[in-house]
Homo-oligomer: 355 residues x 2
Amino acid sequence: VQGAYSRAGVRPAGEIPGFGALLRRLAVTFTYPAPESRPVIDFGYYANVIPVTPELGVAISTDGVGTKILVAEALGKFDTIGIDCVAMNVNDVICVGAVPLTMVDYVAIESPSDDLLEQLGIGLAEGARLAGISIPGGELAQVPDMVRGIRPGSGVDLVGTCIGTVPLDRVLTGSRLVAGDALIGLASSGIHSNGLTLARRHLTRLEEVVPELGCSVGEELLKPTRIYAPYFRRLVASEVDLKALLHITGDGFLNLSRVRADVSFEIDDLPEVPPVFGLIQASGEIPDEDMFLVFNMGIGLVAVVPEQQAARAVELARDAGYEARLIGTVTGEPGRKVYLRPRGLVGEAGRFRRD
Amino acid sequence: VQGAYSRAGVRPAGEIPGFGALLRRLAVTFTYPAPESRPVIDFGYYANVIPVTPELGVAISTDGVGTKILVAEALGKFDTIGIDCVAMNVNDVICVGAVPLTMVDYVAIESPSDDLLEQLGIGLAEGARLAGISIPGGELAQVPDMVRGIRPGSGVDLVGTCIGTVPLDRVLTGSRLVAGDALIGLASSGIHSNGLTLARRHLTRLEEVVPELGCSVGEELLKPTRIYAPYFRRLVASEVDLKALLHITGDGFLNLSRVRADVSFEIDDLPEVPPVFGLIQASGEIPDEDMFLVFNMGIGLVAVVPEQQAARAVELARDAGYEARLIGTVTGEPGRKVYLRPRGLVGEAGRFRRD
């Protein structure tokens, strides 16, 4: 049980008290609409899809920026966090094969100010531009008794919900994966919007400039999450048979195991881990098993394509301005295990362990 | 400037510092999607609509339950607040003429517990049942540094985003209203999910049982927001020419002025104001001008229909189990003024004043 409900930050979702009970209560709602309007995916994937015509589905997904907003508060810089909000939602919607169209946002604030809200708007608009979507409405809640931040009055929460369209016969859930399919990894821009709670625990001096980062710790942690919608649009317009798209969020490479096909994954060529992750790992003496569970470790999106189209899928990514490479292959081993060969790790049942 | 962005709780949205700047930043995003996928409504209505085929639009709206959750915390009773979350979103989506299909939820918690999350699920599922929608995904964020409640560890925020479908030639924005059209008022169940901040300020003894309420103050404030989707479904299936549907939320009857036609509203037959509002008004010595701006005062939804179909529209509501009555008419006076004749009030420019 993970998925749209998986990125819960502090603990793996499956271990949150009451999480299973919540899902069981919501599962019954799948039958409340008329049969032709019922969701087509079970809990646990990146987004769900609702049929709106006999041929067309609308994908919907919601996500917030989490404790990355506390870094924005610490730096007093709110003009990029809206990009993260768009990215986290758009990157989930493309994973079910949907073209993102629009997003609404929810802002909860302790104390509004001209500067804060305009800066949020700047980031949201820039994210929308990068993703090619509109933001045609939202909700602004002044709830000083309900939000808090790093100092009195600074509290803010930022959440989005994105929708897009997908032909019902092209919904992606990774059900068509077969042994030999290629895993294409696209570089992340850094920490993205997952693992900030752990990162902040160990990197407390946000103002410190670190030579290997080329900027301060705070600036590095605040770098906007990369938006992969332009790559998705190119893939869809190409001859490549896209079989799965996997946003690497909380749970790291274990996100691969969300696919519906009963296969496993061999990752044998990981790119060099970006310096920010090395810094966190060294500061917190965090084992590889946890680092690869909490962080993206340099890969923000994985596309699964037929072996013979791997080179083309990499080329399309590079044409769109992304660093991309073949990082591994699908294998016929059942169990949805994720082998990280360069690190000697294997992931299954929500954990990585030494292989 | 109000609308999807209007229900901001503490201050009228137009007076929130930075709110105008935020909207200006987001307005440019309307042009980012391809022309055939751009939002069809300006900011300020209950929901927006995105075309997904040449004939069909998808409505989208987001809203939270706000400080009503603090009442739930005080009573330690979380199994109905999910109904409010569904209601606030579904009631907005029907106002643009859309049949609600699904909702995703966002839960931010300070400290998860079995009981809390299951109770939230019970309410969400009951709301979904009443509205005939699914809840096929959501996001659970454990963010103890970002939320707070009435006591350490109790903090929670609950937000939904609902979508529905509407033929593009049947999108409701109140543009077809003409003098003589009838205003049908449907009873609210009580305070619904607006004005709780003001109510809590003046009704501090939540455990006190008040004879005229027939329950404790806390129980009264926690009564779930009424869901009007079943009425909407009956109207759409009927011969009634529905011209506007207006959810009475923050800004009270001034919500009528959201309509796009340049008309005004004569309300000449208000039902007796439910006791909870009298209690708040007496406790806080609050003038009528503010009561009618902050609270629904007994009417949760207004339908606008041709004069000769008023009786039928009332009958359909009663058949569906709602108390309903003709409360007034549309007039040809320009300016979108709202006259509350029984109280001698007129509302315009975001305020009620003595007429």
